[in-house]
Symmetry: none
Subunit: 412 residues, 2 copies
């Protein structure tokens, strides 16, 4: 059977960089493999949601996978929690969590607790509140990457319509969660009680004892944000009739992939950072293509350079994506079937903005059934003139499945 | 008054053909008339429904005529039946039908009954069951092109939610129709009883006696498929305030046109095959433009080459479409008013796929009020760079009516 692959360079698109004479990092990067694909395929630009709308990584990936984020996205919490390895069931309310530092007056002085790492004991801290019960609501907690974690509340009558305890900047006190709609009072109360329990238990933890001895900021609080209720979704295989898998690095995207029923395949040397391995990710992708009809592969690195405002780092990361693309193309001979590929960013993360923007992203559609255009470079500007013109992420899978020859005909 | 014309080369769009060095049949065909229109007009690409979605001829034409197929399409049966000349009323359930051959064990051995033709007596066979009544349900039956026909059931409480009796391949028995939802039991039962009546009456027909004597497969069964309920539509003239007509060749498109209230004009030498007459279709189109505000003309031939996987046949057919276009342009002086024209395919039927695909199609918008672009050829690739960029069939009539100067202003 024909195979389909979507390769995402996370946050790979951008804007003109003054130090690069107004060129974008994609334009400056050396990307011979993506350029070759652009030349052989058909190019264009795509809006993650619709023109100008700023997507998260989560809403962007929901859209790419054909799940309307306006319908299925109710907050980042559930997907982050699943990505962290927590079970999330319909009816649960889930949160993203930061390990953070407060002073004796309850003012947040460090939202990342001295950039605490999992090796510093975040699992031990999360374990302190995992499984406790407050007012009949069960609390689950788990660490994820670095200073991050997730909390899931399970019980009767919970609502995601509550405000964050995270003040979102330092120098402010931990916020009281407030109900944002009727019926959310109980959930806000549970969250506020939970925050007190966290403060008490974390402050007594040996993890923080040793951090203080080392002169590091203690993780003496956890800040909750992004409350969301787990949506009801039709699983990927049921929805499309094919088996899909994901080769992705970070918890949030893993969470989305798993929640939609994609099989998560771990590339052994993938790290989610600048030290990730393009070869390892490419090899795992090729292996996935031999078993699954559809694969989505996401390399996180370009997004990091974007968020850090570091164009040199972003260029290096884009060239790592290109290296991965080259290994994938080179390995396609190991896949017995025709493979059609879409190369895209999930959103722009311009180094000049240091966060996601609602800009369009350039895309390539490549494979034996594609009628090629005259674009021969992969960048925001080069793809503007492409044969695809302008589409949306919601169009990606219909286009891919049509080229793969697995679409149902609507009509006769 | 200004006039509008849509010229459809059925299935005319395609993909790269290996034997043509990756060029498409449209790129290779000699189409001086469409190229001239491309040069004088504005070009672009269009998605029949939305990017990647594979349309039928029926859903594509509903979309072209401004009727959302997701709203109005409930199965091919009703349009096929109307095209065959049967009356279809709201509430009726209609089917497409094949005259076919079963052996003595009821196994379908030829789904086309030796490619039986109307001249072989399909009208006589259809007449055997036309007008009969089963369990209070009136049955109407009529032959259409070649081995095809249509059946309409009229009565209380009918449902289109039933399975086909057509096994869709040879070597299988005639299927029992099954209800696919609650309330469809009666309809399935009527269809199964009808199938028994058909088997009995057809086997005794003199038509089949003579076929057996000639060593041809008898039409001793009729296989039903594509059950659909007739949708409620606002007729074309009511919806748009102008009178429309259609110069189309095949039953299905005729059925759609008539159902929507377009006047069917028969081109005397049109056949729906490779032996059709471009001049006859062009002359009928010119005549139609003198009387009607809007005309849609569809030549079937390119689709045939696509379905047959025969690129030489498809090239010849595309050149026949171009010949027709040339005659139409040449005859416009006979029309007293300005004429704006859209040239398009209704979908791609690549010879490499031998069925409709969800690929985009190239289009030309031509006429005195058009601001032209720099495209000077009509093909998938040439039109990629066109001034229209990328639109959908649902946009065709609004664009045409705007150029004709007959659109209502939305606002003041």
């Amino acid at each position: 059977m024909a195979k389909g692959l979507i390769i995402i360079g996370d946050g790979m698109a951008g804007r003109g960089v003054p130090e690069l004479n107004g060129r974008t990092t994609l334009e400056v990067s050396k990307t011979p493999n993506m350029d070759r694909m652009a030349k052989e395929g058909i190019c264009g630009i795509a809006d993650p949601i619709s023109p100008g709308v700023r997507p998260g990584s989560d809403t962007a990936h929901l859209a790419i996978l054909g799940y309307d984020p306006y319908k299925y996205y109710t907050g980042r919490g559930p997907f982050e929690a699943i990505g962290a390895g927590l079970e999330v069931k319909p009816g649960d309310v889930a949160f993203r969590m930061n390990f953070a530092t407060i002073d004796r007056n309850g003012i947040v002085v460090d939202r990342r607790a001295g950039r605490i790492q999992e090796s510093d004991g975040t699992a031990e801290l999360a374990g302190l509140i995992n499984g406790i019960e407050i007012d009949g609501v069960r609390v689950y907690c788990r660490q994820s990457t670095a200073h991050r974690g997730a909390v899931v509340l399970r019980g009767e009558g919970l609502s995601p319509e509550i405000s964050d305890t995270d003040p979102h900047r330092e120098g402010m006190p931990v916020m009281k969660s407030k109900p944002l709609s009727e019926g959310a009072e109980k959930t806000a109360e549970v969250v506020n009680k939970l925050t007190e329990v966290i403060a008490e238990m974390f402050s007594r933890s040996p993890v923080n004892e040793s951090r203080k001895n080392e002169g590091k900021n203690p993780a003496n609080i956890a800040l909750l944000r992004g409350a969301g209720a787990a949506p009801h979704v039709e699983l990927f295989e049921k929805k499309y009739g094919i088996k899909g898998s994901a080769v992705v690095e970070v918890g949030l995207i893993k969470g989305i992939a798993r929640y939609l029923g994609l099989e998560l395949l771990e590339a052994p040397a993938a790290t989610g950072g600048m030290d990730t391995s393009p070869t390892s990710m490419a090899e795992t992708t090729i292996r996935a293509l031999s078993t699954y009809d559809f694969v989505i592969t996401n390399m996180k690195a370009p997004d990091l350079g974007g968020h850090d405002g570091d164009f040199e780092m972003k260029i290096k990361a884009i060239e790592m994506v290109d290296e991965m693309v080259g290994f994938i193309i080179g390995g396609l001979s190991k896949v017995e079937d025709d493979v059609h590929i879409i190369v895209s960013a999930d959103h722009a993360t311009p180094t000049t903005y240091m966060d996601h923007t609602g800009d369009f992203v350039p895309l390539i559609v490549w494979g034996p059934n594609v009628v090629s255009d005259s674009v021969s470079n992969y960048s925001e500007r080069a793809c503007m003139g492409g044969g695809i013109c302008r589409i949306r992420f919601a169009d990606y899978l219909p286009i891919l499945f049509n080229l793969m020859g697995i679409s149902e005909k609507f009509g006769a």
